[in-house]
């Protein structure tokens, strides 16, 4: 198992290099330039040229890339990811500062998804074609179809403005640093907006996976053994039904990170997502590059996690 993880990690390196090349190209190809925001009627062309030289934007793209990538991997150095064009702070520090907020948001959303979607999916499968099943399936379709930016706005409007039950923005109230209840209170709406689509998707997937397993011969064997229904479902069926769901886990982690970009922006939640949207808006190259690479690493890690979990859940898979 350990050697498998090491091997997979090594295999991830060329993938991440490819990601770096593509990311760098996309940023280059995107219209606009980092110095655009300095363009005011009062700035002289000479000053703009000086800025271009300062940021190294006048050098050949390949040189820029090599310079960036060699520095980027030296994560033990504070300036490895460069300095933000926005405020001159080291990007690495800025990212690290915001990681906990996003991890908290994503973790809460993922946990909520698993805790709710698995039982909901199982319930729908066990009561196939009943009203419960139809209700769940319908709601799941609706939930899956609502774009998260619409959902987020509605949640913010009804939860925060109309009902005034939840805060409108931020991660915690002023002067309440470390208050867990306050943190959770601030998490409710963003997590809901992130998780509802995930729950809908997972529940539908769980339902079909469970239905497939319920028709398997070994479930009949378990019944013929005289096991109570709870054991047949909870032990024999559920564990097998969970195996394909693991794929979803690997896919959900990057999806949540992408969703966090929208959700954090809507709820002004100080995480990586909001930071990403902001850095793209102002063409803050170092930050955009750094965050996109973080996203790439998340995809690779998510897939690795899923593959490792397969081995844990399914004894037929050996590494």
């Amino acid at each position: 198992m350990f050697s498998y993880i090491v091997r997979r990690t090594l295999q991830a390196l060329p993938i991440l290099f490819g990601v770096a090349v593509i990311v760098f190209m996309i940023v280059q190809l995107a219209p606009g330039s980092p110095i655009d925001r300095f363009r005011t009627p009062r700035i002289s062309p000479a000053q703009l040229d000086a800025l271009i030289r300062l940021y190294g934007l006048d050098q050949p793209i390949l040189d820029q890339f090599v310079k960036w990538i060699t520095a980027f991997v030296q994560v033990w150095r504070v300036d490895a990811w460069g300095y933000s064009f926005l405020d001159g702070q080291p990007v690495l520090n800025k990212v690290l500062e915001r990681v906990p907020a996003t991890v908290r948001l994503m973790g809460a959303a993922l946990l909520t998804t698993i805790v709710l979607a698995v039982p909901i999916g199982v319930l729908a499968a066990v009561k196939q074609y009943s009203w419960t099943d139809k209700l769940i399936t319908t709601l799941a379709t609706i939930g899956y179809a609502i774009p998260s930016f619409i959902l987020g706005l509605y949640l913010l409007y009804f939860g925060g403005v109309v009902l005034k039950a939840f805060p409108l923005f931020g991660m915690q109230s002023f002067g309440k640093s470390g208050d867990v209840a306050d943190l959770i209170w601030h998490l409710v709406l963003p997590v809901a907006s992130l998780a509802i689509q995930q729950i809908a998707g997972w529940a539908r997937y769980m339902r079909s996976s469970m239905l497939e397993v319920l028709h398997q011969d070994y479930v009949r064997t378990a019944k013929a053994k005289g096991l109570p229904r709870s054991r047949v479902l909870g032990k024999h069926a559920l564990r097998n039904a969970m195996i394909p769901i693991i794929t979803l886990l690997g896919l959900s982690i990057p999806a949540l990170l992408a969703g966090a970009a929208i959700t954090e922006t809507i709820f002004s939640y100080p995480g990586l997502g909001a930071m990403f949207v902001q850095s793209v808006t102002v063409r803050d190259y170092p930050t955009v590059l750094a965050l996109t690479m973080v996203g790439g690493v998340t995809v690779v890690v998510g897939n690795l996690l899923a593959d490792v979990l397969y081995g844990v859940v399914d004894p037929r898979i050996k590494y």
Partner: protein, 352 residues
């Protein structure tokens, strides 16, 4: 509730299991009546789709929607299983009556060890702790002839061959000393040498445990090898019932004769195998009268009326208009119209 006769283990009375599909009702089991005595091996034969597996599943009440047992009784030592609560029924399953299935490759749960799956049954039905249950599982694996049982118990199903897995299934089924083992095509999915081994094993365990077996198969060779008594099913009905010797040597029902004629025999030269003409009728659109009439070489006009269940000899009954001697019936004497479709109840009475 009726008082069971001594030695009578299981009695099916007019069992009916129907499936309600979008295209109509399928009478998968349509008035099946037979009994199994202690220690007896009853073979249930018939073509695919004749209702033999559904009969077995109905006994354990494992029929799922859209199927339902719609009538009849399943008496286990005189008590009707159909009236049991779900909890009482669970206590019967895997305890008094165990079942093994056709597909050893898929009948074991792939994510739990074989030992775990056997121990689970033991722990459920007997007052033992986890460790004792595991010890029993290992002991059972040894009994079914698995070498290195202690090591094998810790293995997962995918680490074993098909024959081994069927042995594990048998070990699981017998771990609680059931009075009746329902074996649904236990050797069909195995290759011939392994089939023979599994049959030998079942025979040996039958003697040792003094249990009855309800053996479902379409393989008359397996029946010849194992069964004391045979029930021949067709279209959800019992066509003929007799002891194994009689079925093979003096079959009465044309369907049974057809089945026997289609077995190739060693040392016999034949250009072609005998077959039963035609195909099994569509269960959604069964013929009126005798279900077999369209394929039957003896078919007569009278066959448009449902045939009676006749006693051919003591302990030998057949659902056919042919007289016990095998002659066409003379209307008015052998085939009075009111004789048609005797109640299945009488089938048992006559069989005794």
């Amino acid at each position: 509730m009726t008082t069971p006769q001594a030695g009578q283990l299981l009695e099916l009375r007019d069992l009916r299991t129907h499936f309600y599909t979008q295209d109509g009702t399928v009478r998968a089991v349509d008035g099946v009546t037979f009994e199994i005595r202690d220690g007896q091996t009853l073979g249930v034969v018939g073509e695919s789709g004749c209702g033999k597996s559904i009969t077995a599943m109905s006994v354990l009440r494992l029929i799922e929607r859209p199927g339902r047992v719609v009538g009849g009784q399943v008496l286990l030592r005189g008590k009707d299983l159909m009236e049991y609560s779900d909890t009482e029924m669970r206590d019967v399953r895997g305890n008094q009556i165990s079942m093994i299935f056709q597909e050893p490759m898929t009948s074991l749960n792939p994510v739990y060890t074989c030992g775990d799956q056997i121990a689970e049954a033991v722990e459920l039905h007997e007052a033992v702790n986890r460790r004792q249950a595991w010890a029993r599982a290992v002991e059972m694996l040894a009994q079914v002839g698995i070498p290195e049982p202690a090591r094998r118990a810790k293995q997962f199903p995918h680490q074993m061959s098909g024959g081994m897995r069927q042995r594990v299934m048998i070990a699981m089924a017998l771990s609680t000393n059931p009075e009746l083992l329902i074996a649904d095509e236990p050797t069909t999915a195995l290759d011939v040498t392994i089939q023979a081994q599994i049959l030998e094993l079942m025979k040996a365990l039958r003697e040792r445990n003094k249990m009855a077996i309800m053996l479902i198969t379409h393989d008359l060779g397996v029946i010849a090898e194992m069964a004391d008594e045979v029930v021949v099913m067709y279209g959800g009905k019992v066509m003929e019932r007799a002891d194994a010797m009689t079925i093979f040597e003096r079959p009465h029902n044309p369907y049974t004769k057809g089945l026997l004629a289609s077995i190739p025999r060693l040392g016999e030269k034949r250009e072609r195998l005998e077959v039963i003409q035609g195909v099994v009728p569509n269960p959604l659109n069964l013929p009126t009268g005798c279900l077999f009439k369209r394929r039957c070489p003896y078919a007569m006009p009278v066959c448009d009326t449902a045939p009676p269940v006749r006693q051919v000899a003591p302990g030998h009954v057949s659902r056919c208009w042919l007289t016990p001697a095998g002659e066409p019936p003379r209307i008015g004497e052998d085939a009075p119209p009111e004789l048609a479709e005797e109640s299945a109840q009488e089938l048992t009475v006559m069989a005794r």
